[in-house]
């Protein structure tokens, strides 16, 4: 059972590291519409994020910067979700009853 989680995590890391640098650079659906209908300039960023636009700062090679951002984000998301889950979910039910 445990080993199956490993395959999903591995798949996520491989997608983040190897596929994300190959991602299409076309604007996404909403950006495309915002550009065509001329409201794109209304958008801005309130927050300055540490890794904006999925490019690890200071890395010149774009593919590498994307892959690094992808791996960090995948691990970070896993960690944040498990952290929140730990706060929200009760300990094993079988132990309680």
């Amino acid at each position: 059972m445990k080993r199956n989680w490993f395959w999903w995590l591995l798949a996520a890391l491989l997608i983040a590291a190897l596929l994300s640098p190959l991602a299409s650079s076309h604007p996404d659906g909403l950006e495309r519409v915002a550009e065509d209908k001329e409201f794109l300039e209304k958008g801005y960023s309130v927050l300055r994020s540490p890794i904006p636009d999925y490019l690890f700062p200071g890395v010149e090679h774009e593919g590498l910067a994307t892959a690094l951002a992808g791996i960090i984000g995948t691990v970070l998301t896993f960690g944040v979700m498990v952290g929140i889950g730990r706060l929200v979910l009760p300990r094993s039910r079988s132990q309680k009853s």
């Binding site: 445990k2 199956n4 989680w5 395959w7 999903w8 995590l9 798949a11 996520a12 890391l13 997608i15 983040a16 596929l19 994300s20 190959l22 991602a23 299409s24 650079s25 076309h26 604007p27 996404d28 659906g29 909403l30 950006e31 495309r32 519409v33 209908k37 409201f39 209304k42 958008g43 801005y44 960023s45 309130v46 927050l47 300055r48 994020s49 540490p50 890794i51 636009d53 999925y54 994307t66 951002a69 992808g70 984000g73 995948t74 691990v75 970070l76 998301t77 896993f78 944040v80 979700m81 498990v82 929140i84 889950g85 730990r86 929200v88 979910l89 009760p90 300990r91 094993s92 039910r93």
Partner: protein
């Protein structure tokens, strides 16, 4: 479909944030009742997988791109309450650390993608299973509809904010996302097949049994 800051006016992002806060708290409460810490790896792995999947934009009609949303995937494999928490977490990480989606409109994003897209996926999938639909066909339709629902909501929010009239934005948002939704459907069906073949998500098998018995 990550909205940047500035696209929505204050009343719209505050209202959607309030609704989302209520919905996510309720999802957390239901998860607390239904799950325990043994489900932590499932939540973590699903969030990580959806984060990674969202980075891979596929080209659409030579002028735009789309990427996995994952609402239907998380809903079908983990159930709607966990899916709400998973998608909300992914959106929060993206807004905070990657500047993808504005922080003021995070509540709107959660409402569109973690609340409504998840609810649409859940009801569509189980409705189709009740009609004895093939599980992968049901997955595809649920995923496609979840994208369309989110696209319609974004259009409504933009219109209510006075950013652009509904009549202008809705047809183009629906048009592009009808295509992006096809990608969502294919990726979601493939990922569900991967889950079935690796036997990872126990709940997923139970859902199948329940679906067939119903």
């Amino acid at each position: 479909m990550h909205i940047p800051d500035g696209f929505l006016d204050t009343k719209t992002w505050v209202a959607t944030a309030v609704i989302s806060a209520g919905a996510v708290s309720y999802a957390a409460k239901k998860s607390k009742e239904l799950l325990d810490e043994r489900q932590l790896p499932a939540l973590g792995v699903m969030s990580a997988f959806i984060f990674a999947g969202q980075m891979v934009n596929f080209p659409v009609a030579g002028a735009a791109s789309g990427h996995l949303l994952g609402a239907a995937l998380a809903t079908i494999l983990l159930g709607p309450w966990s899916a709400c928490l998973v998608i909300s977490t992914v959106l929060a990480v993206q807004a905070l650390f990657f500047q993808d989606g504005g922080i003021t409109v995070l509540g709107a994003g959660i409402f569109n993608m973690a609340v409504v897209a998840v609810a649409v996926s859940h009801f569509t999938y189980h409705f189709l299973l009740k009609l004895k639909a093939n599980r992968y066909a049901a997955t595809f339709v649920a995923a496609w509809l979840s994208i369309m629902a989110a696209a319609v909501l974004v259009s409504l929010e933009l219109a209510v904010s006075g950013t652009i009239p509904l009549g202008v934005v809705l047809p183009v948002m629906a048009g592009w996302h009808a295509l992006i939704g096809v990608g969502e459907g294919i990726i979601t069906a493939a990922a569900v097949a991967f889950a079935v073949s690796t036997g990872t998500f126990g709940q997923e098998k139970k859902a199948e049994v329940a679906g067939h018995e119903a």
